[in-house]
Symmetry: C2
Subunit: 250 residues, 2 copies
Amino acid sequence: MTRKPLILVSNDDGVQAKGLKILARALKGLGRVIVVAPDQQRSACSHSITLHLPLRINKLAKDIYSVSGTPTDCIMLALNEILDEKPDLIVSGINHGPNIGDDVHYSGTVSAAYEGGIEGIPSIAMSLLFKNGKHFKSAAEFAKRVSKKVLKEGLPRGVILNVNVPDLPEKEILGYKITKQGKRNYGDIIVDKVDPKGRKYYWIGGDQNGFEDIPSSDCNAVREDYISITPLRVDITDKPTLKKLSSWNI
Amino acid sequence: MTRKPLILVSNDDGVQAKGLKILARALKGLGRVIVVAPDQQRSACSHSITLHLPLRINKLAKDIYSVSGTPTDCIMLALNEILDEKPDLIVSGINHGPNIGDDVHYSGTVSAAYEGGIEGIPSIAMSLLFKNGKHFKSAAEFAKRVSKKVLKEGLPRGVILNVNVPDLPEKEILGYKITKQGKRNYGDIIVDKVDPKGRKYYWIGGDQNGFEDIPSSDCNAVREDYISITPLRVDITDKPTLKKLSSWNI
């Protein structure tokens, strides 16, 4: 008897997030799904690890666990403590909002998939653009299709997929494009205000200013109502610069 | 009159860290140095941004500021609020411990430099291996040399340098090597214990198990008592996989 694939699901919006629940449900047709996700919202926590505090694991239901840490903590604890065997696939998401362009460096959802990539496990990050957050179903259906393909074909070692889905009904999405990482313009991202005691404070997360127009980029694809699939690499050495630097005399 | 270069210095070990102070002092010969660093230790915080809390900036002395956030927060606030002009160079460190192989994804020190790379500013991450943390001076001297060269030559847009220095007196370091990102073996990284109430907890940061033997890698260079310089890229698209995926029918 062929063993059912083991699929680990995580996210950065937390174990109670709508996107996570819809994703886990959609993947159940493909194998055994185990959820290990943060106990609270952890957006923009990137690839951070909790080193200065102990972590707790809570079993919430059969095959559903929360961890008092970051998405990377979740994957580390899942692989080392919770699961008895290596998963065949890790899917992170569905993120409540896009992860395109430079977002990939800040995103906890992408980092959970990245941690899988570091461990040599085929991994996918799924994000839904967020006009009004209505169309998780479109992202979940595509998550199932792309997961099925990755379970069959595998991925090159050290490469993960970053998938972004427009917030549209399935029939209004024009298809998918294989893309490269684009570049967002973050604009005037810092808001500064004064607190009740008259002291200044700053809050990150102001305006976003669209993105650079780069053909074949993730940003362009989603703007044109296509799903974007970008392969991202764990080895981030810039090969062309290796040669340039070797002629430097430092 | 030629304007003096403006150099922004940050780290993830916090504004009081020895490595930061030695670095800032060493770079003063090259231009005006402004320090903007976290108010406390933020190791392994990766590229996280504080979105859920307001941030404070404290001016501690002339050209020295602390921020109640992560290294990425520091760079964002420095560029958008503290500095009047774009810096010519960002140097992050000197990290108390190596950032080699997959470390680059977890490190706050590397991420501060990365944020510079995202903003198109030549940026360098400096780390000292940590046998006993005695030889910050070796790293500071090399930081000065490599910074001088980068100020003169620039770096390709979207590329940063990740520099790791062995914890040895300068005369025992054999030179420097231009390297690619290697791969560490993290081994059995989770410690599990029981608290006074009998509940289990987990702590990340157990054994490190050496690294894979990869010629020309950062890990190999520092093991052989060389300084390692690795160019890292902001665009982490895996180009070879783009082609492979376009033949998939998802």
